[in-house]
Amino acid sequence: MNTQLLRVLVSLTSGAVFGFGLSLSGMLNPVRVRGFLDITGNWDPSLAFVLGGAVGVTAMAWRLAGRFIGQHSILASTCRKTDQSTVV
């Protein structure tokens, strides 16, 4: 399989995992997000768990990327990690 096709498949899978995770987290529901922001009302701390889980896992990947991959990712010659000017 060529590299471009692999990149597309990685993007598709990454999107699907993101969408499934977002569905599982309950944060597709605007009422749940609002519940987190409603600190003077019936506060729902769920969003903090979602963000904590996501940031924790991503931070480990960030460390891994720095240690093992350096300036390149596996399927692309350029990696956004080293491009600080990029728009996220």
Partner: protein
Amino acid sequence: MSVYWSALVGGMLIGVSASMLLLMNGRIAGISGILARLVQGAEISTNAAFVVGLLSGPLLFLLVFGQWPSITIISSLPVIAVGGFLVGFGTRMGSGCTSGHGVFGLARLSQRSIVAVATFVSCAIIAVFLMRTFRS
């Protein structure tokens, strides 16, 4: 599964998704950025694949759990339209949204992202408070 466990596991899956994209493709899983680049016609195949995957997420949830993820809409359509426009405008102006700044930026301890997250969370808290005060 309690709501906090599903929130934590769901969040970790979002982290796995972002990690895959970084380690394999060298890209940042910022939804607003990916969508904007797609609309601008940049890296169409990978960006479109991500969006298709993202939209299939609720369908996968249905296949696994036998029900759609619950969504409760309490706002009127005009309010949602104005809100959507402001979110779109603001995320472009602020160079990122909840995924780019919130997940990725915080994970790499980016000062710009920490400021962005602190700003949009505190403004959203104030907005919710004002909406609650003036509606009731």
